[in-house]
Amino acid sequence: MGTSVLYEVKTERGVFCMLLLLYLCCSGGKGELQESQPAQTSNRPTVKPFNNEPQAFPEEERASLPVFTMDYPRIQVPFEFTLWILLASFAKIGFHIYHKITIWIPESCLLIVIGLIVGGIMHTVKEEPPTALSSNAFFLYMLPPIVLDSGYFMPTRPFFENCGTVLWYAVVGTLWNSIGIGLSLFAICQFEVFGLQDINLAENLLFAAIISAVDPVAALNVFEDMGVNEQIYIVIFGEGLFNDAVTVALYSMFSFLADMPVVESTDVFLGVARFFVVAFGGVFFGLVFGFVAAFTTRFTHNVRQIEPLFIFMYSYLAYLVAECFAISSVLAIITCAITMKYYVEENVSQRSCTTIRHVVKMLATVSETLIFFFLGVITVTVEHEWNWAYILFTLVFAFFWRIIGILVLTQIINPFRTIQFKYKDQFGLAYGGLRGAICFALAFTLPDSINRKDLFVTGSIAIIICTVFIQGISIRPIVEYMNIRKTNKDKQTINVEVHTRVMEHIICGVEDLCGQWSHYYWKDKFKKFNDRVLRRILVRDHRAESSIVSLYKKLELQNAIDLLDTPIGDLSAAPSIISLQDEKKEASRPKKKFMAAEVRNMHDILSKNMYKIRQKTMAYTNKYNLPDESRTREILIRRHASIRRTVRAGSFRDPPERNIPRSQKYYSLQPGGDLEAAFALRRRSHGSGSGDVDHLSAHVQFAGASARSSSRSLVPMRRLNTIEEIKNPAEQPAVSVHPPQRSNGEDALNKTGPGSLGGSSLRGRRGPVPAPRRSSSDWVEEDANDSEDTGERVDPPQLPPPRGWVPENQDPGENGAGNALIRQSPHRSMRF
């Protein structure tokens, strides 16, 4: 523990130094611009002369062409903005250099700390706070990416399964919090002791609405790391998402009310009506733009470059239009993202899909980083009005109402849930209620007409910092200590997929039987509607694909790719071993055996690897990390690399496409089969190994033998997955035919030696066993090579396939290439 603290301190210091440097860089630039703009007198002479001369006095007496000009004011805003983003991003890099920091301290805390430091520096040099965070800038540029991110990466299925609960907490919970906090603060304001009588009810409610927005990033990260169960996760996630919408709606309502001199009772009703207009209007616009976006991407397959653009433009458009009508733009963009995601991802190419995901993540991360960063800066630089009573009571009430709210709301919702929330879960829910970006931004954008604005800003900042630091840091140990229900959401296997689906069908069926509906019923209905109507309209290739099939495809692809990397790599070592010509068979035997063992070992490694891959694909979206798929991409690249390697190695493998299915079969080969494979390998290596030394006859025969043996070894692997089937056809010939062949192959023993030609033909005739060599697609090329080496006399047996399997008939034509074929045809005609 001691060391880790030390490290943290060290890293933090490192980060700080870095930031300091960076800040010095940019503060220099900023210094000028601030000076040049308000035309203050500069107390710090910098490079200003360069800066101002050309533009301030363009037509001076000596109007010579300036060689070097600088027009800083022109680029000031974007330049500053870029520097801020860079600074924030560097900070992020810094945190992740030493990973343990972010495990124990949430990133938002660190960002705020950095912001505080930078703000402190700015304060000491009397710098003005960044202008970027005006009301408009926040709502038009910084909020949309964050919300789009949450909407786009929302785990749809658990969300819809818990839809009611999520909305219940988000809407009712937020209302509960804001009204509760607002009223109790208003009560506090009645005490003359605190000197707060000038804050009226509407303003209190407004403030309460601001600070009741829960921003659970930190909690989510913790929950995700620990694998807290799906229900809690999605409820917190959804709550954070939708209460933004509620809060913004409430905010606009209350700020309107706060402006009005007299509030009449009809206004309250109008306010309620407006609330619904705001909410449903947002959903409506979201749906409209979502479907339009999906429909558009149906036609973009010829312009892949701009595909991702549509996603952003349409969701932004939804946001702006909603904002224009003063309805919930947050809801609009969320709905838009959820609606279009499903269809868009089917329409766009894999690459565009990746781009979309990356850009969404990137924008959201930048926005959020900046917001927390600014939070720190502004905390230091802005004027504060500090009122102990008000702020302390705010904190107390915020905690109090949150906990009471969760307890009460859960008691109400629990009877309607299949899986009920236990007290531990409720505590997790309540404690996860941190305040964050939205709260801060709303506070900062309070209208100036509110006379205690400074107090509200201070109060919001106080509550954000308190919750983020205290709860954010303590939530992990507490959740760990309490051991909140966890689920293992990973390990995605075909079995799980299939069986889960079966169970869903069962539940659905039994519910039908009992005549009751649940979300499965609605899911079913929607799925039908979706398949019949929506997909036809919105998706270009609208054949419905079961998730089982797609998962299967994904897994098989990964599986195959993985195998390409490992055991094939191992097999490709074979030629090099073959090339060790003078190696004795005794020496080579253990080597081959080892290889077989290695193959088995690799299967082990493989299965572990695959487990990990599946785990990855299942992972929930983290606020800052892209969810899945990245792994697949990487695998694809690796696969290409390995294919290239194969081709370059140039030798004995056939076109890479065919490797995939075959290697799968290798995978399905049970351990017993390996020995046989090793056997074959060894024999083949003899053949070519003795190639130079031996006389031709031996070669001829051996070529046949090797072909046979290799093919035999392959037969089981390619076609059959169970040993029982393999063994019989394979073993039988191995016993009967092989021993003589092998002895033939060796020059020393050479039983049939003299009659070499006869021997070969004899072998050819005897051949029913070995024929499969043709179809054993991977060795064929090599065999052809072998036979070329050894000369034309080879008559590779063109024989009826053994009973174990059926060769693919198109193969012999193309694959049994080379001169061997010439010889074969007469034989074939003779024989058949």
Binding site: V498, H499, V502, V549
Partner: protein, 194 residues
């Protein structure tokens, strides 16, 4: 409750069912109404055809299996008690009930739930899901979307994944093991209306 008890009297063995299955009286009553609704010819026995009359169930890809799961082998009809007993599998596990040794495992334990799912595959009741049985279910669920070859290989892979003793079939133990990461209680529970 008072009004319930009057109609409860019509139900044979109602009290015993409540005890046995853990359903509340209100549940039982509602299920009984449903039972009578399904029982078109008022014999007090349900036949598979009665189940088939539920339109949604008929459209369920594994509907026939679900139906046959209600009937023990060789039995053509189903009385209310057995009906409720089967449904008891789908009650959410109750956390507060203490497990006393005397009582056998309740129907809504996750083991029994799993068993129910397992038996849906295992049509010949030999305690194993053979490849053919798995294929049948897959075929039912995937329908026309996939080629037979794909089905084969999916089944092959599923068996490979789960089959630890290399007998080319999935025994109940293997089945349970392959699903041990799934929260069975969440997946196989219905909130029965009362």
């Amino acid at each position: 409750m008072g009004s319930n008890s009057s109609s409860m009297n019509n139900i044979p063995n109602a009290e015993q069912l409540v005890q046995e299955t853990g359903f509340s009286a209100a549940h039982i009553l509602r299920l009984y109404e449903r039972f009578q609704f399904l029982d078109k010819d008022d014999t007090g026995q349900l036949r598979p055809e009665d189940f088939g009359a539920v339109r949604e169930l008929a459209m369920n890809p594994i509907g026939d299996r679900i139906i046959s799961a209600f009937f023990s082998p060789g039995q053509e009809t189903l009385d209310f008690a057995s009906f409720v007993r089967v449904l008891a599998h789908f009650r959410p596990a109750d956390s507060n009930r203490t497990r006393d040794g005397a009582q056998p495992e309740p129907a809504n334990s996750s083991m029994r739930k799993l068993k129910f799912a397992f038996q849906l595959y295992d049509q010949d009741r030999d305690g194993k899901i053979s490849r053919a049985e798995l294929l049948q279910v897959l075929r039912a669920m995937l329908g026309m979307q996939v080629t037979e070859e794909q089905l084969q290989s999916i089944a092959e892979r599923a068996i490979q994944e789960a089959d630890f003793d290399q007998d080319d079939a999935i025994s109940f133990d293997e089945f349970r093991k392959s699903l041990e990461k799934v929260n069975i209680d969440h997946k196989m529970s219905i909130r029965f209306l009362s």
